[in-house]
């Protein structure tokens, strides 16, 4: 059987592929509650990562002609990514489990040999208390690294710390 091709870093020049409109998942006229998801990607020295490629994917609302479900944002000179999307609802987990509303995140950058996968959940969602992934993380402080917080109206903030104090929980799929 063939073996999956090895990942290599996206490097610092991936912007040659970039289409900035991809950061707005509502650009094709999606209907639903719009929200902005933003945050800073931070390295082990606490410095912003200004050359990262952040991608998101959400299984809800289902992808369609008006909603791609997928977005890509560069981090800017302050290390900030920024997406506009539709607020997801809960989606099924394994068995009879229900997953709290969440958005999958993949961070790629110079210095990352492969993408780092994480999730954004939403502060205040009741289902967070029973979500299979969140409840599998023992330390509350670590669990908190996956929960976006309301900032301005309609704006949710989730910083991504690659290393060290407050390191984001990254996922092994």
């Amino acid at each position: 059987m063939p073996i999956a091709t090895a990942s290599q870093t996206v490097g610092p020049f991936w912007h040659l592929l970039e289409d900035p409109t991809w950061a707005d998942l509502t650009r094709f006229g999606a209907i639903g509650e719009k929200l902005t998801l933003t945050g800073t990607v931070i390295d082990g020295d606490g410095a912003p990562c200004t050359d990262a490629c952040v991608e998101i994917w959400q299984a809800d609302p289902p992808a369609s002609d008006s909603f791609p479900g997928f977005g890509r944002s560069r981090t800017d000179a302050r290390g900030e990514y920024r997406f506009v999307t539709i607020r997801p609802g809960p989606v099924p987990g394994r068995g009879n489990a229900l997953q709290a509303p969440h958005i999958a995140i993949c961070v790629m950058a110079r210095g990352l040999m492969k993408g780092l996968v994480s999730r954004a959940y939403f502060h205040g969602e009741e289902l967070n208390e029973t979500d299979p992934l969140l409840t599998s993380i023992e330390q509350a402080a670590r669990r908190d690294t996956l929960i976006a917080k309301p900032a301005d109206p309609g704006v949710w903030r989730l910083d991504i710390r690659l290393q060290g104090d407050g390191e984001t929980v990254f996922l092994d799929l």
């Binding site: 290599q8 082990g44 492969k114």
Partner: protein, 234 residues
Amino acid sequence: MSETIPFRPYQPGTQPEYDTPAYGSTRKRHPMQRLQALPQTVTETTGPRFSALRFPPSEDLTTNTTGTAAIGERIIVAGAVMDENGRAVPDTMVEIWQANATGRYDHPGDQHDAPLDPNFRGAGRVFSDAEGRYRFLTIRPGAYPWPNHRNAWRPNHIHFSLFGPAFATRLVTQMYFPGDPLLAFDPIYQGTADSEARQRLVAAFDMDLTEADWALGYRFDIVLRGREATPMED
């Protein structure tokens, strides 16, 4: 429903580690905590679909910038996208980006003192066909120095980005060229433990792809993760 079938774990040693000390930029960017196991759900076993209508293909990087031919050695890069079960991955978006013939990216962050080519942007996009095949016409990229260590040079390479059928099959990689003496010194290429896995990142010169009086051909096949044989346990 096949969409709920999870993807197999990667074979040990066939993927690079986040913590790759020889590649200096990993030092402050690799996680220190162990990754949290996540049994795949619909979030991971489904993924974006890109249509050629909305994301127009651009398979000829030698003229897709201004219409005037770029400088450098024309090459054909082609291959098949398949999964670990040996099945073709059809209709998947394949994107590439690369330095020009002198080893310079058309990117404000690239300060290497080598000339830009106004006729070469260095980005392309195609969709695999029903058999998973893809093909680009491009310019052979040059090697270039980088600040990783004294006298560090990246081997000639082309960056590849693929999605496959799911969030879990996302792949960003680099294609290298056969016989490149710089491969032995490159911490990014060397960052994968398994030597056969490294070798699979090296394209094969292919006389059948080569077109007379036109361009040399290189074959680069790509394998994405494959689904498990059976649906996931409840």
